[in-house]
Symmetry: C2
């Protein structure tokens, strides 16, 4: 299948998830929204869960591109960690689909963000680890992602994180020390 | 209401949650299991969610007592962090109700462990912070709890954590550095 059709299907799935949530989403409905035949959509996404996973992965890759743009110009790894945490909270809070589903259908979106989050965690971890120049880069990267995800899943905190400056202060104090010294460059 | 009756209600609620899950649990069913009148149970727990929250809080306090017993004899804070992480993973994985609900009813238990976990996070945080002798003890305590909870919610990891020794090695390498130097005593 051409990439163009896949993108069209994912656009349609995203639109339907945003409008009607996750629980009642059907592959048939997505085919209709995309203006494609059911068989075309099913050929690429046999199950609804495949479709949902691919929508989430695409959003994750988009997030990582925005993250990259925000942190790449910064001079060193500590500064990238500080800005990266602030950017992460800002982008996640402003994400229409994620914030919408967490508000309206927590019970259907939460399994994807916890028990079934392995594939997403792996994508983010490999991205981040490639930028950390240390033998246990992947473990350090995974820790950063777990902490950020935790603040998304459970915003209640003793730490004020409402503004970018508060997020930066938290990261400077609590995340930068996680960088192994050989990874700071 | 006497503490004894509250304990009896909570015992009954725990038993019903273990046997039948969370979704179909009713206060009436708990009253029957406890051998108490509906009115007695409703007087103390007006809503099912109050009852569920109190069952979870009691399990959390039990967990904290076991945690305390395991780490109190250790000579310093880094050792307590190392052993505390291993004990946490062991107790959580071996917890019949938590592991049962995560396996059979993730969509009903996950909201309690994420979006609605604020009260539990606060109890654990205040306990842990009281042992950390530093101005931002509560932020550090919260970070430890968030990381541990993350491994409960999303076990998929690049880090092998299957054994106590692996958990200790991880904590030594990645959690102990989170202790501010003035908190290490």
């Amino acid at each position: 299948m051409r990439d163009e059709s896949v993108e069209r299907i994912l656009d349609a799935a995203y639109a339907r998830m945003l409008a009607g949530g996750l629980r009642r989403l059907t592959v048939d409905e997505v085919a209709k929204e995309a203006g494609l035949s059911r068989i075309t959509v099913y050929r690429r996404f046999a199950r609804k869960s495949d479709l949902v996973q691919e929508v989430i992965l695409r959003e994750l890759r988009r997030f990582l591109r925005s993250f990259e743009q925000a942190v790449a110009p910064l001079p060193d790894m500590p500064e990238r960690v500080v800005e990266g945490f602030a950017v992460t909270l800002r982008l996640v809070r402003g994400h229409p689909l994620l914030s919408g589903l967490l508000a309206t259908e927590p019970e259907t979106i939460l399994p994807h963000l916890t028990l079934e989050a392995g594939p997403y965690l792996a994508v983010a971890r490999e991205y981040l680890a490639a930028h950390l120049n240390t033998p246990d880069a992947r473990a350090v990267a995974e820790m950063f992602i777990r902490v950020a995800l935790s603040f998304v899943l459970t915003p209640d905190s003793v730490v004020p994180l409402g503004t970018d400056e508060q997020a930066r202060a938290y990261a400077r104090r609590h995340l930068v020390p996680l960088l192994p010294s050989e990874g700071i460059n």
